[in-house]
């Protein structure tokens, strides 16, 4: 249940992302608005990439969590098999 990406790797990734955003901030640009939009989009893209890694690292939680539908379907099939035996005097589980 623990994460597979070590804390050190996370630290390196976040440090690199911060350094890249910092480098982009010091770039010269004549139009400040377009530069602000560029930095904003770049930061959003890096954040999305890192958050996707974080989400995939924990498959049973977050937005991309694995569904328990397969187990529900299997339980329904087992229940049908149990119910099919009831007319012959067999007890269904509680």
């Amino acid at each position: 249940m623990t994460q597979s990406v070590p804390g050190l790797v996370w630290s390196v990734l976040i440090a690199f992302a911060s350094a890249l955003i910092g480098c982009m901030l010091v770039f010269a640009a004549e139009a400040s608005l377009s530069k602000a939009v560029l930095v904003g989009v770049f930061t959003s893209a890096l954040t999305l990439a890192l958050l996707t890694v974080q989400i995939l690292d924990f498959p049973f939680e977050s937005a991309l969590q694995l569904s328990s539908r397969d187990f529900s379907n299997t339980l329904e099939k087992v229940d049908r098999l149990i119910a099919a035996a009831e007319p012959h005097g067999r007890k269904a589980p509680e």
Binding site: A28, T52, L64, V78
Partner: protein, 164 residues
């Protein structure tokens, strides 16, 4: 983290960075930015390549493990369905015992283990239910067609697998 929270975080950090950039432009003169441009551009390219390679390796790793977890769920469901189908052909006492234990195990998975895993915990209850199911299979008396009454090949108290 839901999709809404994810989107909020992504958009929020983008807006925050854009705001910082706009504030920097108001506070710092353009000429000062120009002095760092040459160095900043070179460092940006170098760091960008390293970051991209590192991110690609990490992403590949977590994506592979995500698929492994997904396949483990599929495999376990298929195996449990196989147990149910095979036990359905057994005579009544063994059939009922196995199906009832299977029902209890699946219910425990859905009600206890899945929420526990969402909280990054293991479920001892599901493990205990699986051991119970295994012991039921071990103890069962099976009578295949055309053969006299015989016990399972697995000896009681022998190898007990851990939960898949």
């Amino acid at each position: 983290m839901s999709y809404t929270e994810l989107g909020g975080l992504v958009v929020g950090t983008g807006f925050a960075a854009a705001l910082i950039c706009a504030l920097l432009h108001r506070m710092v003169h353009h000429d000062r930015f120009r002095r760092y441009h040459e160095v900043g551009y070179a460092v940006f390219l170098q760091l960008g390549v390293i970051f991209a390679v590192l991110l690609a390796f990490v992403f590949n790793n977590v994506w592979s493990e995500y698929n492994v977890a997904s396949q483990a769920v599929d495999s376990e469901c298929g195996s449990l369905h196989g147990i149910a189908m095979l036990s359905d052909r057994l005579p009544s006492p063994a059939r009922d015992a196995i199906l009832n234990d299977l029902h209890a195990y699946l219910t425990t998975i859905l009600d206890r283990e899945w929420p526990d895993m969402q909280r990054r915990h293991e479920s001892r209850a599901a493990d205990a239910r699986f051991q119970s199911l295994w012991q039921t299979v071990e103890r069962g008396r099976y009578r295949p067609r055309g053969q006299p009454d015989s016990r399972s090949a697995a000896e009681p108290g022998g190898h007990r697998p851990s939960k898949p």
